[in-house]
């Protein structure tokens, strides 16, 4: 990927990367990405997104704290409400099954699955992590704006040869993360982390086939020739 990366190439080559190389990410590259991502649209131009980008020692310190802290209760928010719906549950189980099959982890091997889930805490070895939060007052449409910003960042990262993985998992440590980066728990909700780095090209967890619904089940066309 390079500065000639088309949008289509960026969309098609982006995937959630769950094994990163230890190659560091230059500050100037991420700065450029974040500067450009300011041009993401938002309803009423609210630009509701906020974040902290951590690398090096501060990131390591935060991860050490998370390792010895139980997931918070109550949760910051529920990311899995739709999982009770059969079609959503089926999609989640499919992606999980495909991923663990690629990693040669048996369905019944709970210990191995648990170990892999715990890799979320260290963002799968990514050298940098964007922690995403915003004012609690924001409603569902503003969450959509934040999503637009996140996808803009992930596509711009592809242009720089970088990879990412959005991690709602990190919201299990929302209070801890906010305290660490100095953001008010009262005023702000923590949404997710974005792991940022270069993909490990060899690891099978980055290479399994990902499913999507056929377009016909998502979009109707009316009035076209």
């Amino acid at each position: 990927m390079s500065n000639s990366t088309t949008v289509t190439e960026a969309v098609m080559s982006r995937r959630s990367i769950r094994a990163f190389s230890d190659k560091p990410v230059p500050l100037s590259v991420i700065q450029q990405v974040m500067e450009t991502a300011r041009w993401t649209p938002s309803g009423c131009n609210f630009q509701p997104w906020e974040g902290a980008i951590l690398t090096g020692e501060p990131l390591r310190q935060l991860q050490e704290k998370m390792k010895v802290t139980p997931p918070q209760d109550p949760k910051e928010y529920s990311w899995s409400d739709p999982e009770v719906i059969p079609e959503c549950k089926a999609r989640l189980q499919q992606v999980g099954a495909d991923m663990y099959t690629a990693m040669s982890i048996d369905r019944g091997d709970k210990a191995a699955r648990g170990d892999f889930m715990a890799q979320n805490i260290v963002s799968f070895g990514a050298p940098a992590v964007l922690m995403v939060y915003f004012p609690r007052v924001m409603g569902a449409p503003q969450w959509s704006d934040v999503g637009m910003w996140l996808q803009t960042i992930m596509l711009l990262l592809r242009e720089q040869g970088l990879d990412s993985c959005p991690q709602e998992f990190l919201s299990l440590y929302a209070k801890l993360i906010k305290e660490f980066v100095g953001v008010s728990d009262e005023s702000h909700i923590f949404f997710c982390g974005i792991a940022i780095g270069y993909r490990d090209e060899e690891d099978p967890v980055n290479a399994f086939d990902r499913k999507r619904e056929p377009l016909e089940s998502k979009v109707q066309f009316l009035g076209f020739e």
Binding site: S4, T5, T6, V7, A10, V11, M12, R14, S16, L27, M34, T36, R38, P41, G43, C44, N45, F46, Q47, E50, G51, A52, I53, G56, E57, P58, L59, Y77, W79, S80, D81, P82, C88, R91, Q94, M138, G139, A140, P141, W143, S144, V146, G147, M148, L150, Q151, T152, M154, L155, L156, V181, F191, E213, L215, K218, V219, Q220, F221, L222, G223
Partner: protein, 223 residues
């Protein structure tokens, strides 16, 4: 077109050329956009693409009720949080004032401003309108997934030379939309996306759009 060019050249375009958009182009864009990420691979987005006769029917139906003003509104969610203030109100008014300044419509000229606002409901003359909906059981994180998908669509449209305008304004006429297109009752209608070839030299499409400096949104640790 690279990603940076697409991000930088995307803007909410509010006047369009009278030129149709091929279904094949839109299919290509939407097929690629299916690769947008979503938590648990939920893929919560759904859409109806309207052009020609069915689009005109919707515009006509809404035009009939516009004179009723707020009495005809039927949004199914709050487009913006009622209690927002401070910097967010400044940003909201800032973009409105920038647009009306480009159009030479002063604050006092309420009639002209209202007339301009009503152009939302002609999709600003765009030949295609995409209507976005999602199951009601989806929570805020899934709305974020829909946002990722929407931005993917808007950037891919740029790559095709097309322009767009995301329009939450359509939410106020959800009732009329439901009368014209088949959106399941257990789905919520979110927004429209006007799609077409922009009149890029028009004043409304070329005024500078403000954005907050990066330091207001992002902090750095350990670099």
């Amino acid at each position: 077109m690279n990603v940076t060019e697409a991000v930088n050249s995307r803007r909410s375009v509010r006047s369009y050329q009278d030129k149709p958009v091929d279904r094949a182009i839109l299919r290509r864009v939407l097929e690629t956009a299916q690769r947008s990420p979503s938590g648990g691979n939920t893929q919560p987005w759904n859409a109806v693409m309207l052009t020609g006769e069915p689009l005109q029917k919707l515009l006509d139906k809404v035009a009939e009720v516009i004179p009723q003003g707020l009495a005809a509104y039927s949004p199914e969610y709050n487009i913006y949080p009622p209690e927002l203030d401070g910097v967010y109100q400044e940003r909201r008014f800032g973009i409105g004032e920038a647009m009306y300044a480009a159009l030479d419509i002063p604050r006092e000229d309420k009639a002209s401003r209202l007339k301009w606002f009503a152009r939302n409901f002609q999709a600003f003359g765009a030949p295609v309108l995409m209507l976005v909906h999602t199951p009601r059981y989806m929570g805020p994180p899934q709305w974020s997934d829909i946002g990722m998908w929407l931005q993917t669509v808007m950037l891919l449209l740029r790559e095709e030379g097309l322009d767009s305008c995301a329009q939450e304004a359509w939410a106020v006429y959800t009732k009329q939309i439901r009368e014209c297109v088949d959106i399941p009752d257990d789905h919520i209608f979110f927004c429209g996306l006007a799609i077409g070839w922009g009149e890029r030299s028009d004043a409304v499409n070329s005024f500078p759009v403000p954005r907050a400096p990066l330091d207001e949104a992002v902090r750095w640790e350990g670099f």
